[in-house]
Amino acid sequence: MTKTAPAGLRRNIRKSGPTSTTEKPTSAQGQKFNCSLGSNLKVIKKVLQNDGLVIYRKIRLATTPLRHCYVIYVDGMVNGDLLNENILRHLLNYDVRVPAQVPKMSFSDVLMNRVLSTGSVQKDGSIDSAIQSLLYGNVLVLVDGIPYAFVIDAKGWEIRSISDPETERVVRGPREGFIENILTNLTMIRRKMINPDLKMVFREIGTRTRTKICIVYVEGIARPEILEEVYRRLDKVQLDGVLEPEYIIEFIRDAPLSLFETIGTTERPDTAVGKLLEGRIVIMVDGSPFAITLPYLFLEYFQANKDYYDNFFYSSANRLLRYISFFLTTSTPAIYVSLVNFHQEMIPTRLLVSIAAAKEGVPFPAAIEAFIMLMAFQLLREAGVRLPSPVGQAVSIVGALILGEAAVTAKIISAPMVIVVALTGISGFIVPEMPGVSFFLSLFFLFACSFIGFFGYIFAVIAVTIHITSLRSFGMSYLSNLTSIHLQELKDTAVRAPWWWMTYRPRLLSRDKRRLADPGRTEL
């Protein structure tokens, strides 16, 4: 199935070793296998003390002089058929003496070449790394008189089946999403790009969890400087456990205190491959269906994979809708509060009267009302996400009824404010990648507006713009596409140009800039 990259792996182990000191040192740090089966076994058993899942199977080999071997594996993590048919049965039945015709062949060669008929068999002299492989689901075979272990790849455990990704559903486009198993995920990427330029470099991160991560890139498109920077930053991650990409993202991202994401994630293999083809780098993390993509630019909040699968007019319209909804979700409460509290002359007279009638008897100023409702909306959203779906529905119905209807009838909240907050909330869902950003921005703008109306709004927008402009993601300016003066750059920004017109990849992102081999229909 897979071959781990031993170089990177070992380096990591060496580095992480001394830092993970515990009170009772049980690790076989730096120890090598020796020729005595008994002493090797003793070390392993000592290290794996109290681990009930490890199974030791002793086999007497049919050889002279008499030798024993141990097959060691973790219950439930190996493929049972493979273990029984190709390892145990062969070891039990085969004559493993060195054949007379080839006297030069050593005993271990015989085992490797004639007996152990599985895809990957490796020799490992270090007890530490052998145990590491064992715990990752490999089978260890220790043989009397051989100073190393055979590491046999027979991994096989229960995994979730590939399903429609929950977070990025599309009407049209591939239906598969990443799952928790890194190997399955990588095959999904590989199946979409059958090209030797697609490189996958494994690493381990997490001094305790030793999570496998895989850096995926397309050689010739991805820029080596960015790749180097990624390696450099990954080297610095000194976390003991990595359960989700966010653990790594927060270590390696630019502007770690910024609200805005400078590293993206995706749950879809097609999106990941799309980003790879633009020259981006994808990092898969074992145990999570989310892949890291970087560099991540501001524009990517508004680019959805379905934009590229639909007709480009429709896609462009959808993209504009997303920009508008970003404006709405961040600014509606702020603008409403400014209008109602500071700039009444800007409201049409009839609307003013309606609002005034609705606000008659409501005790709070508009800013407080907006704050209460935004909070209530967030409460409902969070409650709905956490609860199982039948209960979640009940919560949202009760919430909507109480907040929307009863609060207005009871004159706690005015009716226009319910509309404003509903608009804010719904627009927020149109750009789903930035829920945190839009919520905090709307609060920030609201805060600014509640003091000085539109002046506050303008100042706040300027502050946010300055901040966004100053951001970088792995050397790329965060707004690089949006602020570009090159026509080619703008073809995939506010609109999505037809594929035959997008001759070039993002200019600063990729090394090989040409996307269309033959520019036949490129120029209109």
Binding site: L352, V353, A356, E360, F451, F455, G456
Partner: protein, 390 residues
Amino acid sequence: MKKSACVLLVIWHLFVLWSMAGCWNFREIRDLAVVIGASFDKKDDQIYLTVEVLNPKGGEQDRGTSGSLGIKPQLFEGSGKTVFEAVRNMISKVGRKLYWSHARVFIVSEDVAKEGIIQIIDWINRDAEVRPQTWILVSKGQAAGDILRTRSKLFDTVSMQIDTLLRSQGNSGKLLAVTVGDFMEEMQKPGVGAVAPTVESMKDEREQIPEVTGSALFREERLVGFLNGEETMYLLFLRNQMKKGTLIAATADHPKANVSLEVFRSHTIKTVRLVDDRPVVDIWIDCLTGIAEISKENDVISERGSQKLTERTNERLQNKITDTIKKVQKEYGTDVFGFGNLIYRERPDIWGTIPKGGWSKVFPTVGTNVNVNIMLRGSAKLSEPTRVGE
């Protein structure tokens, strides 16, 4: 560490800067009394102010009867030595601060206008809240407050009715709607007399309703006279303000049979020349019309008939316009047609010979030469005059 301190500092500064503003100009909607219209009267050196205030509370109870907002306007009266004092005195009666940005109409009584309108209009133009886009009207023969006391049948308030009416005044062609800003501009321009529409309260069935008709003419800041609706139409022609969709009645063959023409487009060109050291203004009016109504079985459709119709209409319109000019020149002596401004712009040499402030003496002597050219386009849905069967 240093960086996070920086970030904290920025956040702190933002917070402080914003809170320093201290909700400057903060106004809750419910604390405002939204003024939709106001009228100004004068009695014994006191300015009497009547304001029409929108009352959302009263509306809530009546809601649901029709498509309107169901607002019941409330009238408040107050007085003071100046307009501003009257406005501020009003607060003690209304209880809320009067909010003027949504005011639609200001009605000035004839008496105040005769005394001089600057005492009213300066405050309107100077105050930050009041918009110069508000309509200004003169109440004819009545106290201005009485106009606001009439009842609008279709609209929520009288002011809204007058506002809607003045907005669509192009359809009647007998109104000259003027905003406070335009009025001020006209008043300050050399060689133009300002004009404002007049409003009266009329009895319709049992109720008093407001009626906007005709216009009030100003010399400098004082009201000097009125023009009725028809004369206002000629005034519109002369000012090149005739809009689309206006009706003119014109007689045709039969002495008592009328043909109505609908004006689609009209354009007026004025030039000035000197005849015996006396300025003469030539006026060319090009008017594109269509037949809207033929009240008698007669032929105005055929080439001969329509030619006759346009000739008669041209002649009639020329006479009427000349009469109106003469009337204004003789009776009121205010240059509402903008002849003086025309000379000022096109012949500064002539303007220079007139002594400063002497235009009002020259104006009655200005000669005019009116040329009307009516063009007929189509005859609405029917191509023939309606004929009676044998």
